[in-house]
């Protein structure tokens, strides 16, 4: 398999905050078109990993490539085809949902007229068509989360990083969003998703990576394991509670 078949490659990727090692020599490979679930306890380094991959944090050592582009040597190219949903996403609250999506699409390199079409399409996909022209400050927490998810996809990214995408969503919205994520991956796009909710990871992921204290504890292809993800997780993670 050639390297370009991997959408995400990290090589001994490390991030230290003073003496604290958030991500410790992490080696990860995610193929194109795969959904990779990253699970782990609080403070395991999931968000730090994503923040390094979107070039918000500079790695202390090691390297990473997104679609073959080095995140340190060529950060602009590495970010050209990515989408990102942060945990607890922010907004311009006085903007409408439609304008926010249009703005995010344009920043992602989409032309204005096309960005408007994309904004409409994704508002529909996340069930916000009717409220699309209302100000974001009038949205409920769940609506904001759906809008945040939509912005991660609106610029046609080939690799999408989703940090806790289902928080604040009701069961029905959660189903719809997971469906949207699966559909998007089926088109050959790559998704890296972090969540605390193991059944969600189990439902949509192709591979699951369990990390603790910045290190990979287990990496499994879900089709190939006999036990449930929850059992595997409990057996893998020692944690401070045990």
């Amino acid at each position: 398999m050639s390297k370009m078949e991997y959408a995400i490659i990290t090589n001994n990727l490390t991030k230290k905050f003073n003496d604290f090692i958030a991500v410790d020599k992490l080696n990860l490979k995610v193929k194109r078109g795969e959904i990779c679930g990253i699970v782990g306890p609080n403070g395991a380094g999931k968000t730090t990993l994503i923040e390094m991959l979107i070039c918000a944090l500079k790695p202390t050592s090691g390297s990473a490539k997104i679609l073959g582009k080095d995140i340190q040597k060529n950060p602009l190219k590495a970010r050209e085809k990515i989408g990102y949903l942060p945990e607890d996403s922010g907004f311009y609250k006085s903007m409408s949902g439609f304008r926010f999506l249009q703005y995010m699409a344009e920043l992602g390199g989409i032309e204005k007229s096309e960005a408007k079409k994309k904004a409409s399409t994704f508002l529909k996909k996340v069930g916000l068509s009717e409220r699309g022209h209302s100000k974001i400050e009038t949205y409920s927490a769940g609506m904001k989360q759906r809008l945040a998810i939509a912005q991660a996809f609106v610029a046609d990214p080939e690799v999408v990083f989703l940090d806790e995408p289902t928080s604040d969503l009701d069961p029905l919205a959660r189903e719809k969003v997971l469906e949207m994520i699966s559909d998007y991956a089926r088109k050959g796009n790559t998704i890296l998703i972090t969540t605390h909710i193991l059944p969600i990871t189990e439902k949509i992921s192709d591979i699951v990576v369990i990390i603790e204290k910045g290190k990979i504890k287990a990496e499994v292809i879900l089709e190939e394991i006999s036990e449930s993800l929850e059992e595997l997780y409990k057996n893998t993670i020692k944690g401070d509670w045990n």
Partner: protein, 282 residues
């Protein structure tokens, strides 16, 4: 392309925001106050005599230059306030809103975020200040005070724009260094107050010490620039009036200090720090 997108959004959202009304009021207030004050001086010249008592030759007759001189004194504070309130939000505000990591994940250079916001603010702010100035000049004509020579008008307008640019640049630097816009505003305001105190101190300090401190005094450099542009006809009150014999050498030095060191350098430093900074969501 990203830069253009940021600029358009910033201009639109600034003009449509509620705080733009506050900016308008803050910037218009000194114009109104100064027109009123100039009219008072026009009606009662003894006010002018008291005001210029510290000058070697106190003024006894109102003229457009002295009216603009008093305008500079009362307008710098609102200009500083608007510049600080708005520019402190540039980066610290995005971080507080949780938007900064989202913006950074887009295929754009980090400097484009700073420059896009800075440029859009200047596009709104500088014409607004120019318009305010022209309204005031027109009012002087209507009151009967008259109009100053063109080089004096250009000199005073340059001063106003320089104050705005310098204050904005410094606020941007504090915005990059701070986690919240309130912290950035507070930091900038404390810095500017200390800077203004320094300006006043130089008037009363021994000449040798004052000469050294004047190198970092904004008002000193602005006064030299104004004196030169106006052909030695205009100055600012805080520096005791019109500078004596502003020569080309002093002008080039002061102009460079204002433009390169006090305006461009804080921006370059902001970009340098921001490009290397680790950004985390909230």
């Amino acid at each position: 392309m990203a830069l253009e997108v940021i600029i358009k959004r910033e201009i639109r959202d600034t003009i449509l925001s509620k705080r733009f009304i506050i900016y308008l009021v803050l910037l218009l207030l000194p114009v109104v106050l100064n027109i009123w004050f100039s009219w008072m001086m026009y009606e009662d010249p003894s006010i002018l005599q008291q005001m210029t008592a510290m000058f070697p030759e106190p003024l006894t007759e109102i003229n457009p230059t002295i009216c603009m001189m008093s305008f500079i004194d009362i307008t710098t504070f609102p200009i500083a306030l608007v510049a600080v309130l708005h520019s402190s939000d540039f980066i610290a505000g995005e971080k507080e809103r949780g938007m900064l990591t989202l913006l950074i994940s887009k295929p754009l250079h980090r400097w484009e975020i700073i420059m896009g916001k800075l440029f859009s603010f200047m596009v709104i702010f500088l014409p607004l200040l120019t318009l305010n100035f022209l309204v005031m000049v027109l009012s002087f004509i209507l009151i009967g005070i008259g109009i100053a020579d063109l080089n004096i008008l250009i000199g005073y307008l340059t001063v106003i724009l320089f104050y705005a640019i310098v204050y904005t640049s410094i606020a941007v630097l504090f915005s990059v260094l701070s986690k919240r816009p309130s912290m950035a505003s507070l930091g900038t305001i404390i810095f500017l107050i200390l800077w203004m105190i320094l300006d006043f101190l130089t008037i009363y300090l021994p000449k040798n010490t004052a000469d050294v401190l004047n190198n970092i005094s904004l008002s000193h450099h602005i006064n030299i620039v104004l004196g030169f542009i106006s052909g030695g006809e205009a100055g600012i009150f805080v520096k005791g009036g019109i500078p004596k014999d502003p020569n080309i050498g002093a002008f080039i030095y002061s102009f460079s200090m204002v433009v390169l060191i006090l305006s461009i350098m804080p921006i370059l430093l902001s970009v340098f720090i921001f490009e290397r900074k680790d950004i985390q969501n909230k």
